[in-house]
């Protein structure tokens, strides 16, 4: 009878040496690639954000990043925030609006958006999706559907009389049923994504616009953060 040929067992030390050795080599490769691409990636991200800001608020000539300080007041910041907020200034140095990033859950994953707020019109006047993994051909139509994009030409975002919240919550309604300027005309076939965008804008605007309306004008854009 033939007996199967037994292969000699590898010692634990050999396996340990191979796994740790390869792990260390792999870590080194990743560190080298990360270090050599980090500056270029940062440049790309800044360029992408700058282009997006110009797209949502074309009159912007200069922006400054702002955040809420420990005292609850708006202040200039140089910190790299996960959801940055910018005050936008025009060619003559006037405050023309604010550009805000916001994030929330969509149908498949988080959706990250950039939107522009006009202090003069008290409305959201520009909108762009920065990152989304919504279903191709369905959810991702929020980026190309003309009637949906038209919602953000002047989406009412007035504050209430006490200035601490939106006067009317921003809500998404069924396609063709928009009756008020604070409503978003949704997309049939992308219901969850368009509703999610309404919620993202409502939450972000409710949190930020009262602070921006109160403090933005007093920010010294020349000051060192």
């Amino acid at each position: 009878m033939n007996t199967p040929e037994l292969q000699p067992q590898t010692s634990a030390m050999s396996m340990y040496r191979a796994i740790v050795g390869i792990g260390a080599m792999c870590a080194l490769v990743i560190v080298v690639v990360f270090q050599s691409t980090a500056a270029r990636i940062r440049d790309n991200q800044e360029r992408f954000l700058a282009a997006a800001i110009s797209e949502v608020l074309p009159v912007t000539e200069e922006t400054i990043a702002v955040d809420v300080g420990e005292n609850g007041q708006l202040e200039k910041t140089s910190a790299s925030l996960p959801l940055p907020v910018f005050l936008a200034y025009g060619s003559n140095g006037d405050l023309v609006g604010a550009v805000l990033t916001a994030e929330g859950m969509g149908y498949q994953d988080n959706i990250r958006v950039l939107y522009a707020y006009s202090f003069e019109k008290q409305a959201i006047v520009g909108f762009k999706i920065l990152d989304s993994k919504e279903t191709p051909g369905l959810g991702d139509r929020v980026e190309i559907e003309p009637h949906f994009i038209a919602n953000f030409e002047a989406l009412d975002a007035r504050l209430n009389s006490s200035g601490d919240a939106l006067n009317n919550a921003i809500v998404t309604v069924k396609q063709g049923e928009k009756t008020d300027p604070w409503q978003i005309d949704g997309i049939t076939g992308a219901t969850i994504t368009s509703e999610a965008l309404g919620n993202i804008l409502n939450d972000s605007a409710n949190g930020w616009l009262p602070i921006l309306e109160r403090d933005a004008i007093s920010i010294d854009r020349e000051a060192t953060p």
């Binding site: 792999c26 990360f34 691409t37 270029r40 790309n44 279903t135 051909g137």
Partner: protein, 211 residues
């Protein structure tokens, strides 16, 4: 009978046609179906996978005497994951728009069975030169296959190729072709064509051998 010697050209060419990873081995279906909704996405995913195939094949071949049999899979996965992470950073440095379009599928290259399959079946048993040629052939074969699927899907689903319109505005695009199900339709179409050609080839060879 003396067996036919395998040349370096054979190592490269086999991945393009005879053992094409997508149309013959039917490996790596996840990215092949999911990211081939446009020709550009298909090309980018194919090139990224080719890079990982080349580098992981070379590394596994160079380290084949150092990696014990019992610990080979964990070592291969570690090597493959390293090059996938590297290609992720490289794409981000190249173009954020492209990185955004490929989404989560770059990270998922690590679980593409084509790459682990070539590391296990070929690179771990052959010299670095042959492993590189095999990786290059398989990578190019994978890229071309994805491109074929991507072109069909983009033409029908978006009315364009590489973003350039090929139909008048009146053309009603087939949305289903850019959805995951469109990947299956395009894949089935190409499998039908490739299998038909292969069957004809086999019949011709058989007829020649008989003659």
């Amino acid at each position: 009978m003396a067996s036919k010697e395998v040349t370096s050209t054979d190592e490269f060419v086999k991945g393009l046609w005879r053992d094409n990873p997508v149309f013959v081995q039917v490996l790596g279906m996840c990215p092949a179906l999911a990211v081939s909704n446009t020709a550009m996405n298909a090309l980018a995913m194919g090139l990224a996978t080719t890079f990982v195939l080349l580098m992981s094949g070379l590394s596994v071949s160079l380290l084949r005497g150092f990696i014990p049999r019992e610990a080979r899979i964990v070592c291969y996965i570690c090597i493959i994951a390293t090059f996938v992470t590297s290609v992720d950073y490289l794409i981000m440095a190249l173009s954020l728009e492209l990185h955004r379009a490929l989404g989560a599928f770059i990270a998922l290259i690590v679980v593409n069975c084509l790459i682990l399959g070539r590391a296990e079946a070929f690179a771990s048993k052959n010299k670095p030169g042959r492993a590189l040629l095999d990786g290059l052939g398989m990578g190019v074969g994978f890229t071309v296959a994805l491109l074929f699927i991507g072109v069909v899907r983009e033409i029908l689903g978006s009315g364009s190729i590489f973003g350039f319109a090929v139909f008048p505005d009146s053309f009603q695009t087939w949305t289903v072709m850019v959805l995951p199900s469109g990947g299956f339709f395009a894949m089935a179409l190409w499998l039908l064509i490739v299998n038909r050609i292969k069957k004809k080839e086999a019949e011709t060879e058989k007829a020649e051998a008989t003659a």
